[in-house]
Symmetry: C2
Subunit: 442 residues, 2 copies
């Protein structure tokens, strides 16, 4: 039986899970795959601490070269994090003819083009199932299971921390800061949760999914990203009244030869399958022209779920190595269209909107707002005007109330112009809240 | 570029979808897979009718031999249905060195062992992604994506027709027969829906999933199967009151070295993700020891969704052929444990139960029922005794009412004994309704 040697770099949350499964499930993996996977060495920069899955001395590497220079190691598993260090490591491995498995979405989203083109040139495979949606085998599904489909839209909940926070805000009516604090105490949010909260992590993942779906490279800096920092309980509950649930959604769709990729707090119809995905779970909805709607749901993070995906890549690449697969037609990159994809500009987004204006409770306000909407050809689907007094304004101390308008599909450009005009005309007394609504109209 | 020649046998709902996608998406498939798939010939027994995707004359075969004897055809796609004919066809193809793709769950569930062992012997691959849950890539997920997992439980909604009927019964409070008739008129149920309604179709599919999950062969005749023919609106609504939704669930789990496989109407907690899968959609929940809970959701049938999966197999096998993959380690069968799996006997099922007794509305009835339960060590979780009068009984014309008991986990053996004793003691006036509840207690 062919033995495949694996080296791991980075021994943290995911690394420990991978080592544990490779050791504890050796026999199962042999039975299922027909190959023997041998964890040869692990390198991490500091062995002087305790690990959830402690390793015997002979598996510990004390320099990176023990991995990269070892001719017996077939596959290097990069589990460090960040961009600079893993980029150098991975490109070095590719040049040395070692296949690579990584869970590093930041690297692939921001430097994927370099990595994949180099890998393609050298006939090297890059496994990255774990980089998106942890344990959910979504990369494989897109690449193989749904190969017969043109992807019309792919969107989902790709960050567990923010989904946990939004779920708690909805169910317990607590505000953002107190839920975030709670999540950190419970270990559902990192000490520095910035990349989760501000949407960057979800953007990294949707960049990868969009690349794969549309077969080209995406300029990460061109993706529109908005986090959940400013999400307000008032909007969560007003949206609920209109039949919508707030989620941090990552969305990619194709139209007119452009790819629209965006991450932002989004209202989904409460009956939508993604609206029911609660807590730390992730889910990805894929709409293909043949298959229709499919959804993939599971744990998007955590040591063993993520390791489960890392190992699926090791097995897959290991089998290819054992079979002596030639390099000529293996698609190693996401670049099956062999081009850069062009991204839709924000001003060209075309979707539905929830707008909350903060207005004095006087007659004529709705009429004035509606007039501006009409001017920009924005069609109104629903209005909620609330008794709820937020504050008082002006000399006469008039009540200030929320005025919520749900639009039909409109262009972002027109929406922004309308908001600007309404604010300039001082119809509102506070900044307007804009939340996009994902609810295709037929 | 390597060209892979495909022959299709059977040109109905799925066959037309496959031909359409192969022709219309030729370019996309080349880009994504690096191979060129050529639909060489299609055989069906009667070309004298109209087809949704009409074929040019040169693609039509008028005898089976035009496919089976054509040395250029690499992959034969079996899309006829039934068992006898496709069994002979597939074994012939295997012997002739042709790889096979099929959507035929009946064949694989009932004759899979013969087919897979022969294929393994001959080094032939059998693709069957489309046989379970239509367009959902669940076979690939189990085989590859979740390879690092021991599967603790796999269960789901695997038949769209029955899920459509149960959804309608719940939402519109209509009875089984009228909803079935409606479903037939709308084309959601076949003219002869027997195999759907009586659970056989779902049983075929869970047999395949269980084989794959536990790595051996399953004696199909040993699977416990109950259909939805006798499902009653009263139970749907009483279950709802207790917080449960009724679904036709197909379940496989492993314990004590045995595999428990069963299909029956099942109450699921209404908050469970599967409880929210409505209409003709399918969904499969997989619990792996590493990944935790994952769910796969999508269309379980229909021409293009099913064809989407058929084509994923053609591409996958086509790529292997093009790469000149050796035969030594490709796992061609589901038999990675190399054994027959032993099935748990019905009497050894261990689950929760919903029991509806039909009893006269007199004092002491609940006490008598509870006494029998205690005797068989069955612990009661909840009771609903209803004012609702079903009929009248006895000389005194006493009111007859439903008495519903939800148990904690109990053995089927004890439950059956308790019901028998309660009925023999004539505490009840009608046959007791038993519905199993899938709600793991910790
Ligand atoms: N955690 C998850 O659930 C999850 C899910 C999906 C994807 N990922 C991705 O998986 C990767 C690893 O995540 P993680 O959660 O396992 O991170 P982690 O717990 O912080 O572990 C990172 C490990 O890499 C080591 N390391 C960092 N820089 C190094 C360097 N320059 N040289 C040698 N070792 C270095 C760290 O050592 P020190 O301990 O000395 O810092 C630590 O052992 C990241 O790319 C992450 O985005 C994680
Ligand atoms: N339909 C779905 O959504 C779906 C989903 C998943 C799996 N499947 C499976 O896919 C297979 C095909 O289903 P389908 O819905 O496409 O069935 P279908 O519409 O009834 O088509 C079957 C085709 O096979 C032909 N055929 C039957 N017996 C034949 C024979 N002995 N020789 C030559 N041709 C023969 C039929 O010809 P005639 O028209 O002359 O009878 C017809 O063209 C079945 O195994 C089914 O269980 C179907």
């Amino acid at each position: 039986m062919k033995q495949i040697n694996v080296g791991i770099v980075g021994y943290g949350v995911v690394g420990n899970g991978v080592a544990r499964i490779l050791e504890e499930k050796k026999e199962l993996l042999i039975k299922k795959s027909g190959i023997q996977i041998n964890l040869k060495k692990v390198f991490t920069r500091n062995w002087n601490k305790s690990f959830p899955y402690p390793l015997p001395e002979e598996k510990k590497a004390y320099s990176l070269e023990e991995i990269t220079e070892d001719k017996d190691i077939d596959i290097v598993v990069e589990l460090t994090g960040g961009i600079e260090f893993p980029y150098n490591l991975i490109t070095e491995c590719i040049k040395k003819g070692k296949h690579v498995v990584t869970a590093n979405k930041a690297l692939l989203a921001e430097k994927g083009k370099d990595v994949f083109l180099l890998a393609e040139e050298k006939g090297i495979r890059i496994g990255f199932e774990a980089a998106v949606a942890g344990g959910i085998p979504i990369i494989r599904a897109l690449r193989e299971g749904l190969v017969a489909n043109s992807i019309e839209r792919i969107y989902g909940i790709l960050n567990g921390t923010t989904n946990y926070i939004l779920t708690k805000m909805l169910k317990e009516k607590k505000d953002f800061n107190s839920v975030l604090k709670e999540a950190q105490e419970l270990g559902y949010a990192e000490a520095d949760p910035t990349l989760d909260i501000n949407g960057t992590d979800a953007a990294h993942k949707i960049a990868i999914l969009a690349s794969l779906s549309y077969g080209g490279f995406i300029d990460f800096s061109g993706i529109y990203v908005e986090g959940i920092e400013k999400v307000n309980n008032l909007d969560i509950s007003l949206g609920r009244e209109l039949g919508y649930t707030l989620k941090l959604l990552a969305i990619a769709k194709s139209h007119n030869g452009e790819i629209e990729v965006r991450v932002h707090p989004t209202f989904l119809p409460s009956e939508h399958p993604l609206a029911k995905v609660d807590g730390v779970y992730n889910a990805v909805m894929v709409e293909g022209d043949s298959v229709g709607e499919t959804m993939f749901y599971g744990k998007g993070a955590g040591s063993l779920p993520t390791a489960s995906s890392v190992i699926s890549d090791i097995v897959d690449i290991g089998k290819s190595i054992a079979l002596g697969v030639g390099r000529e037609i293996e698609v190693t990159s996401m670049n099956w269209e062999h081009k850069d994809l062009s991204l839709t500009k924000v001003s060209d987004f075309y979707t539905r909107y929830y707008l909350r204006f903060t207005v004095p409770d006087v007659t004529g306000v709705l009429a004035r707002v509606a007039a501006v909407f009409a001017k920009y050809s924005i069609s109104i689907a629903a209005v909620i005007q609330k008794e709820k007094v937020l504050s008082f304004t002006g000399e006469k101390k008039e009540k200030v109330v929320p005025l919520v308008i749900l639009t039909h599909t409109a262009s972002e450009n027109n929406i922004q112009k309308a908001i600007k005009e309404i604010e300039q005309e001082k119809i509102t007394v506070e900044k307007t809240v804009l939340i996009r609504v994902e609810d295709e109209e037929i």
